[in-house]
């Protein structure tokens, strides 16, 4: 599933936040990806809110592809946080790793590098965003 032009009106805050990330990511056209961060590309990432909302996607160099519901693919990494932390991550004030280091999100050994790489790309993208380039 490609990046939606407008979020589903019935979508939850996680989907809305990630949709904004997807739009800003597309604007950057891969400029934020370096050799050290490109390990985050092409991987299935599952984001979960403690409210039960789940969104899965795959980050590609120039766009973010949301996965359909019920995708059979096993995600390469799962990020599970409470809505308050997701909200601060979507403003760019914090990144996912900050929540992990605060002890409020899991950090499985086999997902660490992907979580660190995606964490940096997500925050940089959100802090690169202004009304003008959305």
């Amino acid at each position: 599933m490609q990046t939606p032009a407008t979020p589903d009106p019935n979508a939850g805050p996680l989907y809305i936040g990630l949709s904004r990330f997807a739009r800003l990511w597309s604007v950057q056209r891969g400029r934020l990806v370096s050799a050290r961060l490109e390990g985050a590309l092409g991987r299935a990432i599952r984001c979960e809110s403690t409210t039960g909302e789940i969104v899965e996607f795959c980050l590609r160099r120039e766009q973010l592809d949301f996965e359909s519901e019920g995708s059979p693919r096993t995600p390469h990494a799962t990020i599970r946080m409470n809505p308050k932390d997701w909200s601060r991550v979507f403003t760019g004030e914090l990144h996912v790793m900050a929540i992990i280091l605060a002890g409020r999100a899991p950090f499985p050994k086999d997902q660490r590098r992907l979580l660190m790489q995606f964490s940096m790309l997500l925050q940089t993208t959100m802090l690169s965003g202004t009304a003008g380039n959305e």
Partner: protein, 477 residues
Amino acid sequence: MSSAAPRPTVSGDATAQPSPAVTEAYARFALELTFEDIPADVVEIAREQILATIGSCYAGSKMPSAARIAAGLRILGAGETATLLGAPGRMPAPSAALYNSAVAQIIEWDDWVIISHTGAAVVPTVLAVGEMVGAPGRDIVTAVVIGNEINGRTSRAIQKGAYVGNSMPNHQIETPLLASRLLGLNVTQARRAVSHSGFLAMESCPIGWMSDSKVFCNGLPAMWGIVAASLAKEGLVGNLDMIEHPAGLLSTVSEVVDQAELLKDLGREWYTRTLNTKRHPSCAYNLAAIECAIAVKARIPDFDPLRVSKLEIEGPGVMLYVASRFQALEPDVYEQVRQEAITHVALCFDAGYGIMASLVDGELGFRQYLNDRIFSDEVRHLRSRIEFRADPVMHAAYYADYQYGARVRVTMDDGRVYVEERRQLLGARDRPFDHAIKFREGASGLLDPKTIEEAIGALRSLERCEDVRHVTRILET
């Protein structure tokens, strides 16, 4: 010098590429490189690196936790072998190397080549063993270059697959090799020393980067490298291919090992030339912004931090990432420092703190990492005024050519706005500064002014010294 030929892998996979005998090649490089093999400009960089690193050790020794480390290390025994830089007394070489390596990093004032911190591990190892054996100055300088060359290559090999930073486990490779050279081991013994040093791969726990655990444990490769070489010299048998083996050190700490980087142009291209030092103590990603803050303060004679209405920071994404690493803590990072649940170490990675303290004092040194400044009204006020934004151009410049840029904009409550921008940090290989400044700042209050200048002179002509102990005697406090 000789280079090692490729040999078959031990995997038994018929399609596997031959694995170069990296451990053997590094051992030969470490034992056989001569002072005359090294270009003059590389020698000069290494001399300056030694000067700057000792300055960092002195400054770090003024932090409260330094005295705790020195006291705690006494359990390993007393000795008269090696100098503690900035602390009274001497210790056995492994303990002194550990202390000096720890204080070199205690306020994040250490250097790096390519992407890996080096001087804080290499210089203390070389000085401690050098004192132990009475090595000539040119051997000290040569060993420091060897350490940089090996460290730069191992860091390149694992940069896509390991958690990097100054806790990088690649120090477990260069430190035993440096000790092997100075202790007079042969090639087989040096390879075994790497095995003893690297068997337990020292990966850091990210949460420890908030406390003195990081400071102390980052010094362990210096100590353990010396012990490992001593064990190998006595005949203790270790694996001969610990670096390159598919189940060896690098593959254990990194999901990706780029074998081609390990021996690339070794002895021909000098990675020491990529050395970056720091003018101010903080994580490298913060330094351009810190310099901007100091410049803003200097421009405003009547500057009152309490009248700042907005403090805006722009830079590469990696700076923002580091800056907010500990910002989700509950209670917050400042309260946890107050409670001694963590220490100032967390603030060394906090761009916001370094910038705010620099703006308040017009400088950043060890004093800004003491509680008086951390909990000051001025910093408390600025904490509520600071904002960060990513600058995509600076972000790209960092990844394209390691340009550590930043822009700081200070808005006062009367509407005045001051902006400073730096495209590269002071101390980068393409923006050097006089390392005597760093040495003087560190040694101030520990050595008298005349001795400080004598020490700078001795370190800047180190290769002419017949026994490094003649120089380290000047460095004793």
